[in-house]
């Protein structure tokens, strides 16, 4: 997340004096027997770019549709600016939504699509054209004002949808998989554009996505969801570096997970017994885990070093054999089979062009990492 | 908003209740009444002003006499049987005529198919009555068919076709052909062409590939087409009365005559109720076929 260091850090969630814009309080939503949202509590602050991340069917879309007003909670309350919005129909909410399919009206021109909401707002008629013009400028589509949606490209449609949902200057903008229909290259450009527009307009954005990279790029905070519950809410770097559970660690990025039991401990330092005849792994974790608790040791592949010789400066060093090498251009991932059959992935940046590879298949190598590189997870 | 929803649902609902369901109940009720020389020509009539007693006596006077009459007079059950026979035979004939057309359409090039499709649909928009009428001039004794047959020397005497069941078959095949062709065509058109290539690759001749692959895969289309022809043909009135003769017995015609010529409303109503009961079986089978198709498509 691009937060320049010299600016005051934007973190209203750490400031007890700030009031959240949206509050979910013990919200449950059932469709018949199926529990889509399970007793969920969550605060979202003004001007946040908040991402709801999870696999399909985890409840993220339901959560968003409840904010838009297309679904009502079975129990619990949702407050927007301190007001219960359960009874407010979607057309009366200061919330707008950008649909996954964009839902552009095919019979209206780009300009009329953008003006659609304004014509149904208290805005005086003569001010509407100026506002439409402004929105067209914001998304750089001035010369397409009179085109119909089918006469513009996918990326342009996406921007029209964005302009249309922003035109009424909602307190809250909901984005349902906004970039899902774009190809990879365009998606990347559009992500930065979205962040730019969010900053310019100062609107609170809530985005639903199943793409973890997208969430990491755009969001100020991410809520990782599963089975109608929020597993972890945090900033992207915290989510990546300090996942609170195996689920989050596994869902975001690539990770090595080693199952074991807590052995000796010293404050926040633990040693984990993970295999007969192997040295215990020394790792950091939250204080107060009882000895002999079942746990997982999680470590990102890029934090695992690989070498022919046993490194002397690392507290953890394990021996294994290279099983597979995946060359990805900027990095290479080595799959190393440890002596007891567990496979550990190690990633190395390809700083130099490979003229001579010094590591190859079936080489016996050492993988090593520092005490703070990995995490102990009990959930 | 709720008032609007109520209005939206209630308007078509009550329209259909009043002009579709209630008329049926009336038909059903009259089928249980007795013929009378009166206006309306049946008894009893429900007189609500007489209170409960008159309602009770109204119901006690209803009976199934007319239905018993239908089984006793051979005209009626013969008419039902002959309707079933005519509808069944002409459905089969329509299938035989329609299948090659649908097959040819499905095999034609992409540029031709929209045109062929329109040529099949076009007659559907043209007046049914006119299409039936156009055969009178062809099938009559001095008609074009007989002129042609005598010209090529196939017959010396004119064949009597008009006013026989044969003319009715021809009329049904002709008017309902689009209903047969379109579902078969859409089944064939959906088919993956590589299936035939696979079958030939695995050693089938072209003919056996057709019998073993194409034909079974087009079966849902054939079934749908057969029902679409059979169901309306069973109650057909226009074709038997224009092309058929006095010997052509079809239940739609019997009902019409019973009502307009004999003014026997209770018997006409009973004829209608029984026709409906006969139709329920193919309609349910058709619905189930469609349901199965929809599930298979998903």
């Amino acid at each position: 997340m691009a937060q320049p260091g010299n600016k005051p850090v934007f973190a209203p969630w750490n400031d007890p004096s700030k009031k959240p814009l949206i509050q979910f309080k013990n919200v449950t939503k059932k469709f018949g027997e199926f529990v889509a949202i399970d007793n969920l509590t969550l605060d979202i602050y003004a001007k946040e770019f908040f991402a709801l991340l999870g696999p399909s069917g985890c409840g993220k879309t339901t959560l968003m549709r409840m904010l838009a007003g297309f679904e009502n909670p079975t129990s619990g309350t949702i407050l927007l600016d301190g007001q219960d919005i359960a009874k407010v129909p979607p057309n009366k909410r200061a919330v707008n939504m950008m649909f996954q399919s964009y839902a552009l009206f095919p019979h209206l021109s780009v300009a009329n699509n953008i003006a659609f909401g304004l014509k149904r707002s208290p805005m005086p008629k003569q001010e509407i054209p100026a506002r439409v013009e402004e929105m067209l400028r914001l998304v750089r589509l001035e010369q397409f004002a009179n085109r119909k949606p089918h006469q513009i490209s996918g990326g342009q449609r996406q921007r029209v949808a964005l302009a249309r949902s922003l035109a009424k200057a909602p307190k809250l903008l909901l984005l349902d998989e906004p970039l899902g229909a774009l190809d990879a290259k365009l998606r990347e450009d559009t992500q930065f554009e979205l962040m730019d527009i969010q900053e310019k307009t100062g609107t609170t954005f809530v985005i639903v996505t199943h793409d973890q990279e997208e969430a990491m790029t755009v969001a100020s905070r991410i809520a990782v969801m599963d089975h109608g519950q929020i597993i972890q809410v945090d900033t992207p770097d915290k989510i990546y570096e300090y996942p609170n559970s195996v689920y989050v660690a596994d869902f975001i990025g690539d990770v090595n997970l080693v199952k074991g039991r807590i052995g000796a401990s010293d404050g926040e330092k633990y040693s984990i017994n993970w295999a007969e005849g192997q040295p215990a792994i020394k790792a950091a974790g939250p204080a107060g885990i009882a000895p002999d608790t079942e746990c997982h040791f999680a470590i990102r592949p890029e934090k695992v070093a690989i070498a022919m010789e046993k490194p002397t400066d690392k507290p953890n060093a394990l021996q294994g054999r290279i099983l597979d090498i995946a060359y990805l251009g900027n990095v290479s991932t080595y799959h190393v089979e440890l002596d007891n059959g567990i496979i550990m992935k190690a990633q190395m940046a390809n700083n130099r062009r490979i003229s001579r590879r010094d590591l190859t298949w079936d080489d016996h190598v050492w993988v090593s990492f520092t005490e703070t590189a990995g995490l102990v997870l009990v959930k | 908003m709720n008032f609007r929803r109520l209005f939206l649902i209630a308007t078509p609902y009550f329209w259909l209740l009043a002009l579709f369901l209630v008329p049926f109940l009336i038909v059903f009720k009259i089928s249980l009444s007795d013929t009378a020389i009166a206006i309306p020509p049946y008894t009893p009539t429900l007189d609500l002003s007489g209170g409960w007693a008159s309602i009770k006596s109204f119901f006690s006077e209803l009976d199934i006499e007319n239905f018993i009459f239908l089984t006793e007079d051979s005209l009626y059950w013969k008419a039902y049987l002959s309707s079933l026979q005519i509808a069944g035979v002409s459905t089969l004939l329509t299938l035989i005529v329609g299948y090659p057309i649908a097959y040819g359409m499905a095999q034609s090039s992409d540029s031709w198919r929209p045109t062929l499709m329109m040529l099949v649909i076009l007659p559907f928009w043209t007046s049914f009555l006119i299409r039936v009428y156009s055969w009178i001039g062809i099938l009559s004794n001095e008609g074009f068919l007989n002129q042609f047959l005598q010209w090529i020397g196939l017959t010396s005497e004119p064949l009597t076709i008009l006013n026989t069941n044969y003319a009715v078959y021809i009329g049904i095949i002709y008017t309902y052909l689009p209903f047969m062709v379109l579902p078969i065509y859409s089944a064939l058109e959906k088919m993956d062409g590589s299936l035939i290539e696979a079958a030939e690759d695995l050693g089938c001749s072209r003919l056996s590939a057709f019998w073993l692959v194409t034909f079974p895969l087009s079966r849902p289309g054939m079934i749908a087409g057969c029902f679409l022809v059979f169901i309306p043909a069973l109650g057909e009135f226009v074709i038997p009365s224009l092309l058929g003769g006095s010997g052509t017995l079809m239940i739609g015609k019997v009902l019409w005559e019973e009502f307009f010529n004999n003014r026997d409303w209770p018997v006409a109503s009973a004829v209608a109720v029984v026709l409906l009961l006969i139709l329920i079986i193919p309609i349910i089978l058709f619905q189930r076929n469609e349901q199965k198709q929809r599930e298979a498509d998903q």
């Binding site: 399919s101 006469q151 | 062929l116 026709l275």
Partner: protein, 272 residues
């Protein structure tokens, strides 16, 4: 299907379409026959068209038919669209199954039964039969066809378009009028056209529903056709066939052109 030109297919198509179109072609040719004998060619003439124009009975029947068709197809389009919307978007309500049953049943009902039942209804409530009762009858069965056409369009309609309209401040009614209706309009129009042709065509139901005071064109044709073939009817048929053919071909050309235009637009949009 694999597409190969074979003699079998060519023959099947030629014979099939000859069968479909030859009777109508003969009808049209012999409408220009000089002779009163319809099966003997006696030279070209348009005199039967002239006679038809003099025939007041046919002209007034045609007028009645057009009135009935215009009114009933319009009512059917409105009611059928409402019914389709209720079926696809109405959610649950009391008697939904009965409702959908009443929509589909008239499609498979023999016309004699529909006609008979409506006539018995009109008599039992003491309604004077005439143009009004024919309109009622035609509206009832045509609305079911309209609702089938419109609901098949509504099923594929992206529901998020309506949600977007609500989201942007429309009331549900406003959303229907300014978003749903313009988009499904082609289906409503083809439903209207279907209802119009069904009404123009119908003989059986109109015969039951019409009293002695109103005669529609099909009823008139039917009663004169029972007496045999007449060149006047041939002329009338030719006119009707020509109108339908021109209409259908024009409609399909328009839709083909707009589809083509759309595809070109989309291609152009991709190249930007």
């Amino acid at each position: 299907m694999s597409r190969k030109f074979t003699w079998f297919n060519a023959t099947a198509l030629t014979l099939g379409f000859a069968f479909l179109y030859l009777p109508m072609v003969i009808l049209i040719i012999y409408s220009f026959n000089e002779s009163k004998l319809v099966t003997v060619w006696a030279g070209f003439s348009t005199k039967w068209y002239g006679e038809l124009m003099q025939n007041d009975a046919f002209l007034s029947a045609a007028l009645v038919t057009l009135k009935v068709a215009a009114l009933s197809s319009t009512f059917a389009a409105i009611l059928g669209t409402m019914a389709a919307y209720v079926l696809v978007r109405g959610g649950r309500f009391m008697g939904r199954t009965l409702f959908s049953g009443m929509i589909y049943a008239p499609l498979v009902m023999p016309e004699v039964i529909t006609g008979l039942s409506l006539l018995l209804l009109f008599i039992s409530i003491g309604l004077d039969r005439g143009i009004f009762t024919i309109v009622l009858a035609h509206t009832t069965f045509a609305m079911c066809y309209v609702s089938v056409v419109v609901s098949s369009r509504l099923v594929t309609f992206d529901k998020s378009l309506e949600e977007a309209a609500l989201d942007l401040g429309c009331s549900p009614f406003d959303a229907f009028i300014s978003v749903t209706l313009p988009i499904i309009a082609p289906a409503v129009i083809s439903g209207w056209l279907l209802a119009f042709t069904l009404s123009l065509d119908d003989l059986v139901i109109a015969s039951f529903a019409a009293g002695p005071s109103a005669t529609t064109l099909p009823m008139k044709i039917f009663s004169s056709v029972r007496l045999g073939v007449s060149p006047e009817i041939n002329a009338l048929s030719t006119i009707m066939i020509s109108i339908v053919t021109v209409g259908v071909i024009t409609a399909s050309l328009i839709s083909k052109r707009s589809i083509g235009q759309r595809e070109r637009d989309e291609q152009a949009a991709l190249k930007q």
